[in-house]
Symmetry: C2
Subunit: 237 residues, 2 copies
């Protein structure tokens, strides 16, 4: 049966369908399972941190692209907070230093230098292609689809909590202050998900559109998963 | 002689060449001359305000596009202020309500309703094409070129001052508080020009590149000029 012939999901059912996609979140990727259960070497952790930084670095570009496509001032006023959260504002030390700076602190804690991190010298081609695909999607898609693609944040608090709970025990050589990024993202992810879901549940109305939203979310899950494929391959034990 | 064979302009000469383009600024357009010397009818002023609002409305999209192309965090941290200035943040009444809200106050003062303005119903096709060309340029061009295209702001304080000086006398029926947009832009334009010039003078180095910067500025001057051509044609006396 064609999606076009089916009645739309209720709002609650649509949200449930989106959340069900969490089964494909990279929390289940073999590399993440090893990383968060203490089975990664310091070199593998450094490889993950350096590569994942490329993802951090493209987030403001992706969010700028969504802003650039968004003709609704109210949405832009809320969306811009994501760029401020990430790039930071005011000084580079305090609470407003931003996510990229917090990730830099994580990198320092695992033994990378700031220059090494920001030079992107360790970033693998496969990781670049995944991240660039995300930016390109956000540039070309209607802004509501760009917003929908951000909904992998629904699943992020769990992976951050996993890291916060496990890393101090598994990797005592990593200074605890380096984990601030993970802690800071939990409340921000919740706020972002509230907004992203509001836009998505409002915009995708009939079943074909709702299925499209699920497909967009899966595309984004594939990006995160493929990044870990590349990182796993590029950082053997 | 080919530009490639000529020595680069000095920094001061390059800035002078850019500033010289002010001769083509829309301050000299016949419609603007009539507008700022008291020769426009209320209907023409309303036509100008309603159409120029479309330009206001695309500025955050243009600036989002530049952000989205800009891989330099420092530049993004400064550039984002333009979006905040325009869209505003916090409430919709105070100093941070933003340029679009200030323009709305101007529209109310000249006799347009908020709905009429925001519906874009009076926006002429020629005005749309000009503004959309600007956004499309910012989406596709390297971010330094997008930034260079913003340098028509070098000439903006003069046109704002002309409005502030002349309108209260020429158009006493327009409530003076409606002119707040023009007043607010003068210091912001200066700050924006300082940044835009810094990026442009640093980035465009040899003569071919410098000439390209002058051409980009001319493209943007053409956008502003063509908007007034369309507004003039669409709002006869």
């Amino acid at each position: 049966m064609n999606a076009a012939d089916l009645p739309p999901w209720s709002r609650a059912e649509f949200e449930h369908q989106l959340r069900t996609q969490g089964k494909n979140y990279h929390i289940h990727h073999p590399f993440n399972v090893r990383l968060n259960s203490g089975q990664c070497s310091p070199a593998q952790i450094r490889g993950w941190v350096a590569n994942r930084f490329y993802y951090q670095s493209i987030i403001p570009l992706k969010d700028g692209a969504i802003l650039s496509n968004c003709t609704d001032r109210e949405t832009r006023r809320r969306w811009i907070a994501r760029i401020l959260d990430h790039d930071g504002y005011d000084d580079y030390q305090g609470d407003a230093a931003g996510g990229m700076e917090a990730w830099t602190q994580l990198a320092l804690a695992v033994g990378l230098s700031r220059d090494e991190l920001w030079s992107l010298e360790h970033v693998l081609p496969g990781v670049r292609f995944c991240c660039d695909a995300y930016v390109n999607f956000a540039r070309r898609a209607p802004w509501q689809e760009g917003i929908c693609s951000s909904l992998t944040e629904m699943f992020a608090p769990q992976i951050h909590k996993q890291r916060l709970a496990g890393w101090p025990e598994h990797y005592p050589w990593i200074e605890a202050s380096g984990l601030r990024y993970f802690r800071s993202r939990i409340p921000l992810a919740q706020r972002d998900v509230d907004h992203g879901l509001e836009v998505t549940l409002d915009h995708f109305r009939d079943r074909t559109q709702q299925q499209r939203a699920v497909d967009i979310l899966q595309f984004k899950l594939d990006i995160l998963w493929s990044m870990l494929d590349a990182i796993e391959k590029g950082n053997p034990t």
